[in-house]
Symmetry: C2
DNA sequence: TGTGAAACTGCATCGTC
DNA sequence: GACGATGCAGTTTCACA
């Protein structure tokens, strides 16, 4: 994990469809060398996937909310979460509530129906998203090989 | 926005580096036709970007938290948020708190330092993420052209 | 909108250092 | 680890329906 790796990661965070040749030009390194580095970054699990980001609005989903949730039926609730298309993110958390959900629905009415459906499992507290200032800020940008790359050497060997 | 568009979107949500030829094979449609649909989905803002997803752990970032935040210095706080590498997501929300932050840091100590730094702007309540059950569930999957594609016709014309 | 054909570009793979 | 060469795969562009 040197500076070149961070530059590759940064490029792909910004645009996952960047071609290997484009990166090899930007980096001034041969195409096979970039391909090989990329292969290792994927193999080592540094890159976990490449995903298109869609506009919920353009898909008719106008309401986003975060739901703090408290339940003692964790297994049941997690199984429900897996199958619920409204829940896009699900986190186990510390604190008074034990789950945090990001929920994306068509309207505030469909959010209300969703909240009623989870009331069967426990108690919820809902924060409606008014505006998203930003999302998914780069993790690779501003990473210095000297600072956090040395620990990652250990990590990449599976420790 | 017909069923073919949803299949394209679904493929790219799952793997943003899927080639046009792969999609054209899966869909049984010519390559230029898929390219043209893709161009329009991007132009209309249905697809907002393609991003590599990185493992915070593998980059030495072992602590993730959601922070509920209350401030009356909104402009100042948002400007701070833009420049803060720890804040990966920033939402304006309804409720007692007016912001929700997703924060990714190296350790719980660096999280503590971060929380001290934002105390200058207002009050926070922190939920530490113990485990991420899932993130970024598909928005396009299970979308029926009959249901939400008709509204999106209006949306795509800019209404 | 969609198609097929052709020119162009990018990628995988190899042997070499 | 990185490089250059090469053959195959993917993309772009076009005339046409």
């Amino acid at each position: 994990m040197d500076e070149i790796d961070y530059r590759i990661l940064s490029k792909l965070e910004e645009n996952a469809r960047t071609t290997v040749s484009e990166m090899s030009r930007a980096i001034a390194m041969s195409q096979p060398a970039v391909t090989e580095r990329l292969r290792k970054l994927e193999e080592n699990g540094v890159i976990t996937g490449y995903h298109a980001k869609l506009s919920p609005e353009k898909l008719g989903k106008h309401t986003t909310a975060f739901v703090l949730f408290k339940t003692n039926r964790c297994k049941d609730f997690e199984a429900f979460g897996e199958t619920s298309p409204e829940i896009v993110d699900l986190y186990r958390t510390s604190g008074e509530y034990n789950y945090l959900l990001k929920v994306v629905t068509e309207t505030s009415e469909s959010l209300a129906r969703f909240l009623e459906s989870i009331n069967a499992f426990g108690f919820s507290s809902t924060l409606i998203v008014l505006t998203t200032k930003f999302e998914d800020k780069s993790l690779a940008d501003g990473m210095e090989p000297s600072a956090s790359a040395k620990p990652s050497q250990r990590i990449l060997r599976g420790l």
